[in-house]
Subunit: 387 residues, 2 copies
């Protein structure tokens, strides 16, 4: 059931400047777009997907600006399967065209009004004009997880024959489970030779698990955004993908500057006017905080006891929380040691008990704990000081 | 590979007042604990797990207070595998004892210093004294996903024979994938007759997917917290589990008051001094917001086009965002209709273009969009008004 970890790398398609712009709170300025693209490139993402240039005058101007930065990452425009949209994007000098077309019964009826043959007809009309024009082409089946799999395969095989270099399979409404993703990607992997990209929303809180399942089943490219921002409650986050991969396939993240993840997340959070959420992998302010006595005791002896990831790999430091009622004597002992205080075991135990009582009605700061310990040390050793 | 959806229900073990208290920012007052327990009970969670009463005087007093509320939910104390801890908890009148003991090589060495035989010895010493005392007993293997599976099975079979009613299997460091969870739970399911509980951390962003995999593989009880708060970046969230289940197995959530999820999440967020994060399933402020033109067009025709969950089931309403540069003419047309404005197709198209330009340098409020549309309507129909 469990497939062997593959040495095949994944490629990261960052969609912060496309899907991320569809997040309710996002309204990036030109300067922010350039700063984010530059930072994504420094991190090492493989593809930067941007909003279609036909969305607005500034969308087009900013796409050109980002193309002109001459970044290492491929710059892709996310466009409808339309010759006009493609021409505008090509004129901007993009490296890749990311075509998208709804394939589910729901989107056939309410998005573009075409049935399966109609979808294939549009693909046959548009693709021959844009293939071989200097940009690679991805064709994504929007809402692929509510599309009959035979239709996904039919479309994939037709567009592959027409020259696209990558098929996208999107869980647009966030309804898929990892099992379903693994199954569909496996089937698609058997049916086409080209690359496969997975895009998954987080409505069912499975976006990163689904992305992981997609990669393991044969997907080559994974869509993410910084912090996971996107329509509704978003898609797979870059940090989540990195956290998952760093645990099970550390070789796969070596090509990325994972030490820059924190500043990347913080930069985008600032641009959105939000905080990095507490539940973010790696970059949450508390991602490497340890609180309960049982945890801190073991972490002080051996950090891997309660850390699947090494904070230092991400430029982060572990924090042992002490100003709360769940504090244990090992954490207090370590704090006293760091402060250079000499307190014997009995003193540590009584200080711990006193701190538990003190913080039972509310947490206090680490500085207050330090003051408390210094005072206890001073009280417990007057004779030594005076001798 | 995909198992049929089961009609077997899952039971929710809410750990907000235990694991949640280990979240760095948590420091609940007695009043907050009572309010949260009461609200969890109204929601319908099956078990409310609370911090061990030996943690502090207030922990013990508050456990008694919550027991005395006489809630429908079972009240459990999370304790070490210790006769003393169990006696204190039993004296508080709990319905269940949730024993935990580290089983991985890491925790054997650094948490309690006992090898496998030592763990079994402690279980054999403690359990006979506490079985049959009026509280059901769960024994959880902490860090079970880094424990050799044969050891997990050995422990599980011994403690089942000693009379526990449930075995816990915990992904304590958040290292497991859904495949691994499914595999271990399946094996455990075959080895014991008692209930099985899964507890999973979110360090690899797979907590909810793992919980889902555990249930499908045979787990009976799933640990969650409100918002997913817990050590580091937390565990599976109640909202995430409900969102996942409501999609694939709607019958399984019928016994819960899912319309109260929003106020529950908001209540805990307030107690923590944080916002409900944007990435929360169902209860994120933007969980049912639709922004891009392609999305809003289809959602206005048929909401399920971009909604896997019905917001009304959760007491929420969908929002069509209009004050941004990705706005489409269908969203503007609908907004005009709601305002009772008569604008023909050409006017809608030109208003949409004008709005895209206007918001290209920054989003505006919906009220501003309304004013903009009213003004255009007034300008476009002077002759009608004068005639």
């Amino acid at each position: 059931m469990i497939q062997p970890e593959t040495s095949r790398p994944f490629r990261i398609v960052d969609c912060t400047l496309r899907e991320g712009e569809q997040f309710a709170l996002a309204a990036f300025t030109t300067e922010q777009r350039i700063a984010i693209a530059t930072k994504l490139d420094a991190f090492g993402v493989d593809v930067i997907e941007m909003t279609t240039p036909v969305a607005s005058p500034r969308a087009e101007a900013d796409l050109r600006r980002v193309v002109d930065l001459g970044l290492q990452a491929e710059i892709a425009a996310h466009i409808r399967c339309s010759r006009m949209d493609a021409e505008v994007a090509l004129a901007c000098g993009v490296d890749a065209l990311h075509l998208v077309m709804g394939t589910s019964p729901q989107l056939r009826l309410h998005s573009h009004g075409r049935d399966l043959l109609g979808i294939l007809e549009v693909a046959r009309e548009v693709l021959p004009h844009i293939v071989g024009r200097g940009a690679s082409i991805r064709f994504s089946c929007e809402d692929a997880f509510r599309t009959p799999m035979r239709d996904v395969l039919r479309i994939a095989q037709v567009v592959e024959d027409l020259g696209v270099s990558r098929i996208g399979i999107a869980d647009t409404v966030g309804c898929a489970t990892p099992d379903e993703v693994a199954q569909r990607v496996s089937v698609l992997r058997a049916a086409v030779n080209c690359d496969i990209e997975f895009h998954g929303h987080n409505d069912g809180d499975c976006a990163v698990a689904n992305a992981w399942a997609a990669w393991r089943a044969g997907a080559t490219h994974i869509d993410v955004t910084v912090l996971g921002i996107g329509e509704r409650n978003g898609i797979a986050s870059l940090g989540g993908l990195i956290a998952r991969a760093a645990q099970s396939a550390p070789h796969s993240v070596q090509r990325y500057r994972i030490d820059q993840l924190l500043s990347l997340d913080q930069q985008v959070a600032r641009a959105l006017g939000i905080e990095v959420p507490f539940n973010a992998c790696i970059t949450s302010p508390t991602a490497f905080s340890h609180k309960a006595g049982m945890h801190t005791k073991a972490v002080l002896a051996e950090p891997t006891c309660y850390e699947a990831l090494n904070p230092a790999d991400f430029g982060r430091t572990r924090e042992i929380l002490v100003g709360h009622t769940l504090v244990g004597r090992h954490a207090i002992s370590e704090r006293a040691r760091l402060l250079g205080l000499s307190l014997d075991d009995a003193s540590i135990l009584s200080a711990t008990r006193a701190l538990k009582n003190l913080t039972d009605s509310g947490a206090i700061s680490s500085d207050s704990v330090d003051d408390f310990l210094k005072e206890r040390a001073a009280r417990s050793t007057p004779s030594t000081l005076n001798s």
